[in-house]
């Protein structure tokens, strides 16, 4: 039973525009959320995170928004660049088992020139 869901398997966006990736979770005990980026034949790389005490965290072109009441988070990439073409994984964990990350299935982003 997947506790973290990324319902859009793929996203295509034009270079320079905004990419919005969505993630939903079902476990109300999750209190920390992460986004990872993965290129083909490489391992995932940590991108950005957010604690449940915040509703927004920004790092350069990347911003993560958290809506706890809706159990929803999103990742915004502005502006999108060709190097952003990758698979993005949403992950979450709870306070009691902080090593147990639950991952979504990933969203493949393609940035068109």
């Amino acid at each position: 039973d997947q506790q973290v869901k990324q319902n859009s398997p793929s996203l295509s966006v034009q270079e320079g525009r905004i990419s919005i990736l969505n993630c939903d979770y079902t476990n109300s005990m999750f209190d920390y959320f992460l986004w990872y980026k993965k290129y083909p034949a490489e391992g995932p790389t940590f991108l950005i995170s957010i604690s449940s005490i915040k509703d927004k965290n920004e790092d350069g072109r990347f911003t993560v928004f958290l809506n706890k009441s809706a159990k929803h988070l999103s990742l915004h990439i502005v502006p999108s660049q060709p190097g952003d073409s990758a698979v993005y994984f949403c992950a979450a964990r709870g306070r009691s088992n902080d090593y147990k990350l639950s991952f979504g299935a990933g969203t493949t982003v393609t940035v068109r020139a």
Binding site: Q2, V4, Y32, L34, Y36, A41, E42, G43, P44, T45, F46, S49, F89, A91, D98, Y99, K100, L101, S102, F103, G104, A105, G106
Partner: protein, 112 residues
């Protein structure tokens, strides 16, 4: 700067064969992890090690064993490989369990 190194990168086994996947990290991290990734699914935790000499089962431990005899190494064993274990395996490490994890580039394992 190597980070997390996994060997081998690719392996083909026959059903029933045994194999050990190797993982080494040079960041002096305390925590290490083994995941598997299957099509249409997120990464699933197989085993976790909080420190040298300690291991805990993750979400999908059946059919696997692990060993953490040295801080920098975390080994994943398949005693009797089954086709259901065909997957891409990722090793990861972190300073401790509540810090972001650093991943290796994966081992693609096929079991015929």
């Amino acid at each position: 700067n190597a980070g997390v190194t996994q060997t081998p990168k690719f392996q083909v086994l026959k059903t029933g064969q045994s194999m050990t996947l190797q993982c080494a990290q040079d960041m002096n991290h305390n925590s290490m992890y083994w995941y598997r990734q299957d099509p249409g699914m997120g990464l699933r935790l197989i085993y976790y090690s909080a420190s040298e000499g300690t291991t805990d089962k993750g979400e999908v431990p059946n059919g696997y064993n692990v060993s953490r005899l040295k801080k920098q190494n975390f080994l994943l064993g398949l005693e009797s490989a089954a086709p259901s274990q065909t997957s891409v395996y990722f090793c990861a490490s972190s300073i401790n369990s509540n810090q972001p994890q650093h991943f290796g580039d994966g081992t693609r394992l096929s079991i015929l």
